[in-house]
Amino acid sequence: MDSEICIIIESVSDIITAREQGRTIGKELGFSFTDLTIIATVISEVARNILVFAKEGEIILGMTRQGGRHGIVIIARDRGPGIPDIPLAMQDGYSTRKGLGLGLPGVRRLMDEFEIISEVGKGTTVTMKKWVYQT
């Protein structure tokens, strides 16, 4: 990552701070207005998961370059209870009512890259990337 900023998530107002920072970085990178909305919404979802399940954690935002393209990296990290069943968490709860309702399947659909590492009792880290679409 070229540069990064870290936002501590421990209250609801931190969620708003994090998504506004995401918008600012996204704008700098030249994302479309729709993509900026997607980035802000994704940050909102993962930041809320931190607050609800882990009470506190952090959102790290950065710019990334890879093979001629550039994009935003969003990392959501907490030292909360962890997710025991990741495949279940990745099931679409809105349509099947089987998922955990963490909103992660939707978040994955909105991003280009999505990776989740979680250990019960240790915490969860979600790393996501979205590339600027070049015409």
Partner: protein, 121 residues
């Protein structure tokens, strides 16, 4: 930042400003269900034109707000969902099933006039 609620005839109009906190949304909940009774309102319009992010929490809140208003005997119309917000909501799998929506405030008022008028007839 509290959400202002305007009384317009038989209807209440709540205009949501950008970046509402959860506490503001919950306050709006209580204010609306209370004011529907106080003003004997038949309909509520929630204008979300200025809302730039509609995440699962905001959607859930709006849904329960509309259901509460219905239990108080009035109808709710949510108006002004922006195109990119609508796009993101669909991708996230968020729905406002069973809740009336309108393009903007004007359409929202027209919709309420129509539906509450029918009920009286």
């Amino acid at each position: 930042m509290e959400v202002p609620i305007l009384k317009q005839g038989d209807f209440l109009i709540a205009t949501i400003q950008a970046a509402l906190t959860d506490a503001d949304l919950l306050k709006l909940h209580y204010a609306l269900v209370e004011q529907v009774g106080k003003h004997r309102s038949k309909g509520v319009i929630i204008d979300v034109t200025a809302l730039d992010v509609m995440d699962s929490f905001a959607t859930k809140t709006l849904r329960s707000l509309a259901h509460m208003v219905r239990l108080r005997g009035a109808e709710t119309v949510i108006c002004g969902i922006q195109p990119e917000v609508a796009f993101t909501m669909v991708q996230l799998g968020l729905t406002l099933e069973g809740i009336s929506t309108a393009l903007d405030l004007e359409e929202g008022l027209a919709l309420l006039n129509q539906s509450t008028g029918k009920r009286e007839a």
